[in-house]
């Protein structure tokens, strides 16, 4: 009962909004190049499905590649920072600068560095920059979240640095690192879209390209359809990682 209401209520609400949108557009004769009706967007979605699917995959694979690269870099940086206070202090301003600088502001630089022939490189790099901070700080917070009494136990039994890392610090870091990585995954997608809009994507035309292309041609239903595809993909990606995170945490905690 409760569960069905929890699903039904938001569905009805969204349906109501869409209906109001549809009716208002028709009643007021709003031109489709200004605001298309939901039915026109659905139609564009269906008609362009194969193309949108390919574009979505390109955006997704760019994001995942950036996520994987950043995962390694942020993990290594966090390991270094966790091992020495001086390293952490030295690295902090760079990490913060990476976080507070709007990615739009550095996109032109990356475009120049990547060169005209390799715009995808700039896109991946921008997605990496966007995802870096939460992944780094999540991993670092995790590595620093070691139970001090458990650490004393390792002292007591004369554990080596390697044993401490693999048997204490890395396992302790799992919950908080996962949290940071989840945020990082979302930001990698945001970075990939912004990067593609600003740096272009060469022949790797992703969803951002579809949105821009349709907008420039005043094909608003197609532009909206690409936005919907992007939103759905982001939602699915978030839900998938959430499910993975829940399983991993359950395994970690044993229940």
């Amino acid at each position: 009962m409760k569960r069905s209401v929890a699903i039904l209520a938001p569905t009805l609400f969204v349906a109501l909004l869409l209906a109001a949108w549809e009716i208002a557009c028709r009643a007021l004769n709003v031109p489709p190049y200004f605001l298309p009706t939901p039915s026109a967007i659905v139609l564009a979605l269906v008609e362009n499905a194969p193309l949108l699917f390919v574009s979505a995959w390109r955006t997704l694979s760019t994001s995942l590649m950036a996520f994987a690269i950043t995962g390694v870099l942020a993990g290594l940086a966090a390991l270094g920072a966790a091992s020495a206070r001086l390293a952490e202090a030295s690295f902090r301003p760079i990490a913060i600068a990476l976080q507070v600088t709007p990615i739009i502001a550095i996109a032109p630089l990356f475009t120049v560095w990547a060169g005209i022939d390799h715009p995808q490189v700039a896109v991946v790099a921008l997605a990496c920059v966007a995802a870096f901070f939460p992944m780094y700080s999540g991993a670092l917070a995790g590595l620093s979240a070691v139970d001090p009494e458990l650490e004393r136990l390792f002292d007591l039994y004369g554990a080596s640095g390697w044993q401490r890392l693999t048997r204490l610090k890395l396992p302790s870091a799992v919950p908080q690192a996962l949290e940071g990585f989840k945020v990082g995954l979302g930001l990698a997608l945001v970075g990939a879209v912004i990067g593609e809009m600003l740096a272009g994507s060469g022949d790797q035309q992703g969803l951002a390209f579809r949105i821009l292309e349709a907008s420039h041609r005043m094909q608003m239903p197609q532009s909206f359809a690409a936005v919907v595809a992007l939103a759905v993909m982001a939602g699915v990606l978030h839900a998938a990682f959430q499910a993975l995170e829940r399983r991993l945490i359950r395994w970690w905690r044993g229940r």
């Binding site: 139970d147 458990l150 136990l153 390792f154 007591l156 048997r167 396992p171 905690r253 044993g254 229940r255």
Partner: protein, 251 residues
């Protein structure tokens, strides 16, 4: 100082920066196989004394003699301090594995230690699935798995209910009877001290010094109904009185 001592503190003082003297000067000697309770008010430095004996901290002045070999000194902390991501067996075998004992043998010895503390059947359980008393038993099994010469208990039952702590007190005494490690037991509970220990050392309010000590004349493990005997009551009363004087001496 007696050479047969399992561990000893000689003229030991501990100062903490910004807090001043935390402990001492104290002299304390632990004979092999005896059970000593260290009792005193909160903040008197009894846990500091324990950390000195464990080698987890160094004294500012004075000397510490301790069983320094790997696994010769074991500690049970106030909380079970189990790794949540490891099973009970893996938690208990951790000290062995850190010392380089092969996985199979370590696990077998861990399972045996779990059986001895009454946790047979919980080998694969995670800490989150254990009750507070069971987690404390697992922690005890981990301390015993290396067959230590000195076992240090830092208010291990403080967070448990009365029935569980009494049961665990009996279990610790029964386990002690098997391998007879020397035990130092920190507590602020007078009755627990008298019930567990052969000798009770009373500390003054911080910075802790030794206010006096008391021998408990009774067989160990304790006979049933020991808590209701005249001797138990009498010793507990005398101990309370010493504790009170120790606190006043400071005030």
């Amino acid at each position: 100082m007696v050479d047969a001592a399992a561990a000893a503190l000689a003229g030991v003082e501990v100062d903490y920066p910004g807090r001043g003297r935390a402990l001492g000067p104290i002299d304390f000697s632990l004979a092999a196989g005896e059970i000593v309770a260290l009792i005193g008010p909160s903040g008197c430095g009894k846990s500091t004394a324990l950390r000195l004996l464990a080698g987890l901290e160094a004294p500012t002045r004075g000397q510490v003699r301790r069983a320094a070999g790997r696994g010769e000194t074991a500690v049970v902390f106030q909380s079970p301090t189990l790794a949540p991501w490891l099973t009970a067996t893996a938690n208990v075998s951790l000290p062995l594995e850190l010392a380089g004992v092969a996985g199979g043998e370590a696990r077998a010895r861990a399972a045996e230690a779990l059986r001895r503390v009454g946790l047979a059947g919980a080998e694969r359980a995670r800490p989150a699935q254990l009750s507070g008393g069971m987690a404390m038993r697992a922690s005890l099994a981990r301390a015993l798995v290396t067959s230590p010469k000195v076992l240090l208990l830092d208010e291990p039952f403080a967070a448990l209910d009365e029935i569980t702590r009494r049961q665990l007190a009996d279990d610790v005494l029964a386990l002690w009877a098997v391998e007879r490690p020397a035990i130092v037991f920190v507590t602020h509970n007078v009755e627990e001290a008298v019930y567990m220990a052969g000798r009770v050392v009373v500390m003054t309010a911080g910075p802790g010094r030794i206010a006096g000590e008391l021998a408990v004349e009774a067989p160990s493990p304790r006979p049933p109904g020991f808590r209701t005997t005249e001797g138990f009551r009498h010793t507990a009363e005398r101990l309370s009185e010493m504790l009170r004087q120790g606190m006043e001496a400071r005030a």
